[in-house]
Amino acid sequence: MNEPTQTIYVVDDDEAMRDSMTWLLEGEGYRVSCFESAEAFLQARHDAMRGCLVLDVRMPEMSGLELHERLDALGSQLPIIFVTGHGDVPMAVAALQRGACDFIEKPFHNEDLLGRIHRALELDAQLADRRQRDGAIAHRLEQLTQREREVMNLVVAGKLNKQIADELDISMKTVEAHRARVMEKMGVRTLAELVKAVMSVS
């Protein structure tokens, strides 16, 4: 069920932790890659990375949360599982609110960790699918003219043709023509499909 391109990236300053994680996860058949610091991971990171990130919150120099922020800024969509020690719960909650994937508190049960890794990997797979689909719609949108895009936005906003014509100061016929071309270019047949496609990318 694991997609072969997915890797679990472990970032932890404690050597024993990295080693034991590797031992555990490889036993489950995952591909594991370890980094001893956030900086080391940042250096190695690239956009094509697939899988998930198991990140220790407490680390000297750059902490796990800081790394999270940096990754966000870079537009990374890699799911992150924070590993926290005792007393770091509020911090982990904050991290989740910022869009982290999951967190797990040490000491953790290995099944628990594995379950979360599994979910993270699934999420990663979905995200990868969506990224693909969004890429197609975006391509279609780019083919619209300026006037067609304006008409489309007003259509999606639920305006009637007459209202659109008044707003853009064009004739009803022109609106209808633009509308037909938009539907054609976007590859949809109904208004509902158009709305769905536009919403998915915006």
């Binding site: 034991s20 031992w23 036993g27 489950e28 407490r58 120099e61 005792h86 040490k106 000491p107 049960h109």
Partner: protein, 799 residues
Amino acid sequence: MARLRQRAKNVGMLSRVPAPPPRQPWLWFAPYVAIGVFALAMLIVTALLQWRELDTARSALEGDMHWAERTIENRLHSHLDFLGELGREQEFKQLTYETYQVKASRYVRENPEIQAIIWVDTEGKVEWVAPNESTATFVGEQLAGERMAALQEALRIRRELVSADYRDTTQRPMHDIILPVQRGSADLGAFIALQSLEGLLRATLPAVFTARYSLTLVDAKEREVLSNTSVKPTDRQVSGSISIDLPSNQLGLNIVAYRGGGAWLPFLPVTLIIVLTLIATVTLIQLRRHASRRAETEEELRSAYAFRQAMSNSLITGMRAIDLEGRITFVNAAFCRMTGFEESELLGIKPPYPYWPPEEFDQLQHNIDTALAGRAPASGYEMRIMRKNGERFDVRLYFSPLIDAHGQQIGWMASMNDITEPKRVRVELERAHERFTTVIDGLDTAVHVTDVHSGEILFANRAFQNIFGFDCIGRDSAQVTAACRPHSEWLHHDPATLPAEALPCELFDGEIQHTLSGHWYHLHERAIRWVDGRTVRVQIAADITDRKRIEEVNQQQQKRLEQTSRLITMGEMASSLAHELNQPLSAIANYCAGCVKRMQSGNYKLDDLLAAMQKASDQAERAGKIIRRMRDMVKKGDPNRQPVALPELIDETRAFADIEAQRTGTQLIVDLPAELPRIVVDRIMIEQVLLNLVRNAIEAMSDVPVERRQLRLAAHVVDDRLLQVSVIDNGHGLDDDDIERIFAPFYTTKPEGMGIGLAICRSIIEFHQGRLWVEPRREGGTIFHFTVPIEENSGEDHE
């Protein structure tokens, strides 16, 4: 009245001291010189007069002598002529005995100095004697001796001759005038006139002459023959001698003038002059002595004057003399100074005086009236008078009668003291004493003073009396304070044997419980010199019962705080420790789970499993170490001070501190000198302090960029007793307020802090006789320093 004015003038003149007369010692010699010159002149004049007198006497003498010489010679020549007449008649045999008898007798009668005229033959036998009745010789008498020799000589030379003198039967000096008679060449005999020398003088010289002069006849051999006086004149100054030239006989007649009035007469003027001169000199000396005594007295008087004047001027007491009517006759300088009036403005003025303030007129008039009546009180008058400028001041005036040299009262002397200042001082003194009493009595500390020898309580303030009774002054301190008294052995010194130069000296400083009331007092006792010079003990006892109670409570609280702090520290540490423990525990769990999974799946290599299990076991050991460290930290017995090396201590502290440091990304630098002596401390306590300071430092740096989060631990040896450890951070630093209060319990700059960490740290360091303090760092941040004792013989133990 004129007399009084004169007196006033005299008194006024007292202010001018007469200048001493110029000294002219030569003046004193003038009278002596004058007396000397006068005496000398008188003596010279006298001598001149005497000399002239003598001269006159001498010339008179000479005249008289010449006259006498001529007279005597004439007489003798007349005798010789008569004898020559007789001889010629005899020669020519014209002379008969009867003729001879008549002629000769008549001649003898006319010339009484001739005793007789005799005719002797050539053999010296008396043949005729005239006059008959003469007793000088007898017919038939044979001449003998010198007379015979003279006769023979006369016969031989055939000339007249005067024999040497001889004594007749009545022992009167006589001499013979011999005239030899020859006829042809044959000698017939000789006529001899027996002449008495005495008669000669008497007959020839008048009585006046003999009375004036002392006459002496001397023979040719300078033998004295006859003198008309029995007393020989001693002064031969006025004398002369004449030689009566007689044939064959030199009869010298010496004539010496008599001194009229005695021999002393010429000396009388000289003596008188000398005596008078002496008297004058003695008088002069006496006069001079008197004068010099007078000068001395004057000098004494002058200095006495000057002294009195100086005294009067230097007096700060104003002196004023008034006569019996109240008129001012004298004021001294002080009086003028006090009143501001000139002396000339006051002298001669009758009451009311110008320095009387108008409002006091009646009182002052009454005073002066009673004073003039002699009823002035012995204590004087206290009154208010006025300066010239109108300023009023208080004086005290004493009256005493003024008696002159004759014992008569001529007025009243008043002495005036300005009592404004003494009055002010007295009031001030009273107030000061009142303040002192108020302050001393207002103290809640008990103060009392005890004589060290008698133990008598000399002074006690109200607080003391409140404790030991209000009748305690004068009683024996040992009895009064028996319930709360330092034992004599506790005193630093025995106060009774302290030498005076050792004062003041501390005797006791300590806390004592009152055995009856149970109150605690802090007693501070000193030996000092009391106001009258004796040695006393001053004891200050402060009631410290409340403080003592608070201290006890504080101590208990401190203990509790310490424990609480430790627990809180542990609590704060817990999350770090949990994280630390989580690492090995999670690792172990991972290894185990990995092994289980592989074994379940059957897809494993034994070596891999063994390696994983080994790693798990290592992690278990790591967890165990953490637990042990934690247990050490919590376990707290009595302080156990032992020599320990500081680096060791720091290492152990780091085991905890590093967790926190790693978490926050703080760089912990330990910067210790290579060789440090060992310190004697309770290891756990000092670790706790170090950990606390390190944790504070880390927290202080939470706001600074990670790269600046540097914490430095340094140490250096202060001296042979102390080692100083410093914890230096780069944090936000402390403001002045914080620095002052940071060690106070329950003061904190941290939002979650309890504010007891540093307070306890300080107690711990002070427990080690060290000091904990903080100072800001110039570059920003804070430095905490503390000192701990060094092992005493560390030099030997330390390699």
